[in-house]
């Protein structure tokens, strides 16, 4: 093996098992929804590092100033890769919602029923989709306030979801 190949082999650490958010079941890698987040796997590792610090971030194009979601490496409007990381508001309001009462994917069956919705972030032109925790679906209304929270899945990866404000 060449030195370069040895270096590459060292970097190819195995991907950990992929438990669901509840840790109830682990699923094979190709049935795992969560993004790969290490800096040797994605160019968006800073998103997950910030989330670990309790901040929701994304990229903004330096040329046209537009916020991009999901975070990207190239602005689709300018075709320019000069992007900056910026913090997003951690609060928002529910624009629309529903609930998964049946038919959940593998590893999430134990989480049914759960609420999902689109949330308008306060003071930013972004409407993000995500889980909404903190109340049964029958108690959710359009316009209610939610906050962004980070959560950790059992293998240590981190992701975001919404929680009813004050719950």
């Amino acid at each position: 093996m060449t030195e370069a190949a040895v270096e590459l082999a060292k970097k190819k650490r195995p991907v950990e098992a992929a438990p669901s958010a509840t840790g109830a079941a682990s699923v094979p890698f190709l049935l795992d929804f969560y993004p790969l987040e290490r800096d040797d796997q994605t160019r968006l590792a800073r998103f997950y590092a910030a989330l670990r610090d309790g901040r929701l971030t994304t990229t903004r194009c330096r040329r046209d100033g537009g916020l991009l979601w999901p975070p990207r490496t190239v602005c689709p409007r300018c075709h320019d890769d000069a992007l900056d990381w910026v913090d997003l508001p951690m609060r928002g309001q529910i624009y629309a919602f529903s609930a998964v009462l049946a038919g959940a994917p593998l590893g999430m069956e134990g989480e049914v029923p759960f609420v999902v919705g689109l949330v308008d972030l306060d003071g930013a032109p972004l409407r993000l989709f995500g889980r909404i925790e903190g109340t049964p679906w029958t108690g959710v209304r359009i316009g209610q306030a939610v906050r962004v929270e980070a959560y950790t899945i059992p293998d240590g990866r981190v992701f975001y979801r919404f929680r009813m404000d004050g719950r």
């Binding site: 969560y34 529903s98 609930a99 689109l118 993000l128 989709f129």
Partner: protein
């Protein structure tokens, strides 16, 4: 574009849709059998190209490279163009669009478009995982949502913004299930699908109930398309492809904009009508993508069949039924026929061909149809694909 050749669908067939005791290759064999029976003048050696609509065989059937697999199952040896088309729920129409392009350009003379999907698995949770991957998987699918909660949000906003009611949603389901009762290949043959019954079914993703949702279905369908000069060799009633339109403006849900105004469909629809040289009022029938009841309502509006916000009233008043402005989903729709992703778009084209030939069950026969529109959305209504057909005589 002036060198473009005329293209027609000259025959086709649909296999029985449902929870089928049959594998993906077996469904492809059935589609081949049905096609060659439906088009007696067609010989295997005539077919120079094959387009295979299949959304997720890797997930549902653990099989890649399905184009040559389908060719072998159907007894075809394509020698011009062989390819699989994947566009989720619109994979079947994609096969037809590709065959149309191939023939129009002169690369193909006789092409088969087949759609096959096997969706019912021993592990339905894995099937649900496959459906969630149609969305932007690491950002949207990761939240555990498949299509029902997305279209539920469309319904919720449409109810809020325009006053659309659950009863109007049920009117779509009632109409399409009634037509499905007269279609032997439909998955569902419900004898009593009255609105009261639909409104008592369990919620799947509120406000959508079981009767508002199409189902996970196994099925296949195939059509044969030819150039204009060859069409009469196979049929006396070719269905001419006169126009088409397609538009995609987002993928991640954050970039969807309004949930109730499907801008992509308005644009694709305008292009379809422009290219065919007709207006919405010229249509005698339309196969619209009723993956959910609310979809058909938003589609009436985006296509200009009725004013914005009045789609619920349009269906409740019977204007998309026999005797109305036009007949929408006389096949039974995705709601009544089931929705095998890759097969749906092809089965819709089969319906147009058979309606033009006036050989369907009289309970769903559109009287003397001349213009037909076929529409598929895919994913979270982020892609719209349309084709306009004219009856040849």
């Amino acid at each position: 574009m002036s060198a473009r050749r005329d293209v027609a669908v000259v025959g086709g067939a649909t296999v029985k849709f449902g929870i089928r005791p049959a594998t993906w290759p077996e469904l492809a064999q059935e589609a081949g059998l049905a096609l060659f029976r439906a088009v007696p003048a067609l010989a295997s050696a005539d077919v120079d190209s094959l387009f295979v609509g299949a959304a997720e065989p890797e997930r549902f059937a653990f099989q890649s490279h399905v184009a040559p697999l389908a060719a072998e199952q159907m007894g075809l040896t394509p020698h011009r163009i062989l390819q699989r088309t994947e566009l989720a729920c619109a994979s079947g129409q994609s096969a037809i669009r590709s065959a149309y392009a191939a023939i129009a350009s002169g690369l193909s003379d006789v092409a088969v478009a087949v759609g096959v999907e096997k969706m019912n698995l021993p592990s339905m949770a894995e099937a649900n995982t496959a459906m969630a991957c149609v969305m932007d998987r690491p950002w949207d699918g990761v939240h555990g949502a498949t299509a029902p909660p997305f279209f539920a949000m469309v319904a919720q906003r449409h109810m809020l913004e325009y006053g659309t009611t659950e009863d109007q949603l049920a009117a779509v389901s009632e109409k399409n299930h009634r037509f499905a009762n007269a279609n032997p290949t439909a998955q569902f043959h419900e004898k009593t699908f009255a609105r009261e019954k639909l409104l008592s079914l369990p919620l799947v993703a509120p406000p959508l109930r079981l009767g508002d949702c199409s189902s996970m279905t196994d099925g296949a369908a195939a059509v044969v398309l030819t150039s204009g000069e060859l069409a009469r060799r196979y049929t006396d009633s070719p269905a001419w492809i006169r126009g088409s339109g397609q538009y995609s403006d987002f993928h991640n849900l954050a970039n969807a904009g309004s949930l109730t105004d499907w801008v992509g469909l308005r644009r694709a629809g305008a292009e379809a009508f422009r290219s065919a040289g007709i207006t919405p009022g010229d249509l005698d029938m339309a196969e619209l993508h009723d993956c959910f009841t609310i979809s058909e309502i938003v589609e009436y509006e985006a296509l200009g069949l009725c004013p914005k916000g009045e789609g619920g009233r349009f269906v409740a008043d019977g204007r998309s039924d026999l005797g109305g402005d036009l007949v929408v989903n006389p096949r039974g729709g995705l709601l009544g026929c089931g929705h095998p992703l890759g097969a749906t778009g092809v089965a819709q084209a089969v319906e147009v061909f058979e309606q033009f030939a006036q050989k369907v069950d009289p309970r769903r026969q559109v009287p003397d149809p001349h213009w037909a529109l076929v529409h598929n959305l895919s994913g979270s209504a982020n892609v719209h694909s349309l084709m306009v057909y004219e009856r040849g005589g």
